[in-house]
Symmetry: C3
Subunit: 159 residues, 3 copies
């Protein structure tokens, strides 16, 4: 522990990933909403469908969290958190829209594929950038990179 940090409520990271934490909290609230929905429907005929939608959403949850945090740690937290929010909106639409359909056990990689792909791209770009910085000793592509990332983030909004 460095000597200049207080013992009690010291932050564990040099830069607080506030936005990522906020999106994570929103996703936890969404999980709780799904769970309450399943509990409420537990005696009705829609139970199977709600339960199945919840299952599909929970299956992809770890993957989503891992991708969002990797993208935030590798490149920049603002686009990563924004992409995370977009994913949560898509997930909500999926859950609500699922109510009327019959249950299929397809994993829900099948929705939000574009958002997850974008986050994976951010990770790859971040790693390539890091390697360039480390082995070429130059950061010529940094500003270009940021512009590209922001442009790509805007592209996510197109339905």
């Amino acid at each position: 522990m460095p000597p200049d940090t207080p013992r009690g409520s010291v932050s564990l990271l040099p830069v607080r990933p506030c936005l990522l934490v906020v999106v994570t909290l929103v996703s936890v609230l969404q999980n709780a909403f799904f769970a309450l929905k399943v509990e409420k429907e537990s005696s009705s005929s829609a139970f199977e469908r709600v339960c199945c939608a919840n299952r599909n959403c929970m299956d992809a949850y770890s993957t989503f969290l891992a991708l969002m945090w990797c993208a935030g740690l590798c490149l920049s937290q603002v686009p990563a958190a924004f992409a995370g929010l977009v994913y949560l909106v898509v997930r909500h639409k999926y859950f609500v829209g699922y109510m009327g359909q019959s249950c299929q056990s397809t994993p829900c990689f099948l929705f939000g594929k574009r958002v997850l792909f974008f986050m994976m791209l951010m990770c790859v770009v971040g790693i390539v950038n890091f390697l360039l910085l480390r082995f070429c000793g130059s950061d010529y592509n940094k500003e270009l990179l940021e512009t590209l990332t922001k442009a790509a983030t805007a592209l996510l909004l197109i339905p």
Copy 2:
């Protein structure tokens, strides 16, 4: 990589989140215990129930890990790790108590709700504290905050 850190077994974080890692390891051991229980019962009549209890516990596992680490990173790792331990005890009671009952596919947000809510509160307090520090430039509420957190942690012990 900073020049003053050795290459081989360098720690990736400035302050090691030892307590969070320990609680995570305990939760992994608990998962292994649940899995062994499921394997042992795989030919008996209690299999369905054990399998269902294991499923409900695993469903909420990602959410629990995300909340505990966010709370530890945002505010302070001691109360977060303590709340995590309390959650693991509650989960164990749930798993053992489930053996005798019939299986329901309710997600296990329904147990340990209070602990999870407390961890979420810690995240919110940490973020508000960070924003106050950043934009008001004062840490007047830091000691008050720590006292409040410790008092709230003690409240968790009340059944």
Copy 3:
């Protein structure tokens, strides 16, 4: 935020856990491969088996990620990332081999147990090492530790 770090694409960690991120990305790609496999088989007779294999793999995914990142943060990221890759290979073999068998709801802690156990051992060694460094004020065992870790990593390759 420290004053000397730029605002935009600042990295959130002092040392980038590149290898851990790469292994996480590979595991996400593997998840996507499993999900596509499930989708492709959704109308054939093998659907139940593929779906069950996918389920067993996803159940242990959170535990795997938590263990790998803890091992990487606690001790050293090179052996942790290598063990993670070995685990992914074992998981792939398990998924492909599962196709021909009947479905059992056994959680897949039962494969890759040795790899997970090794990662847990790394965490314990890292914590003990940290406590020794902190309270004994000596790092006499550091080189011994690294040698041991590398030797143990090589042992993982023995089938």
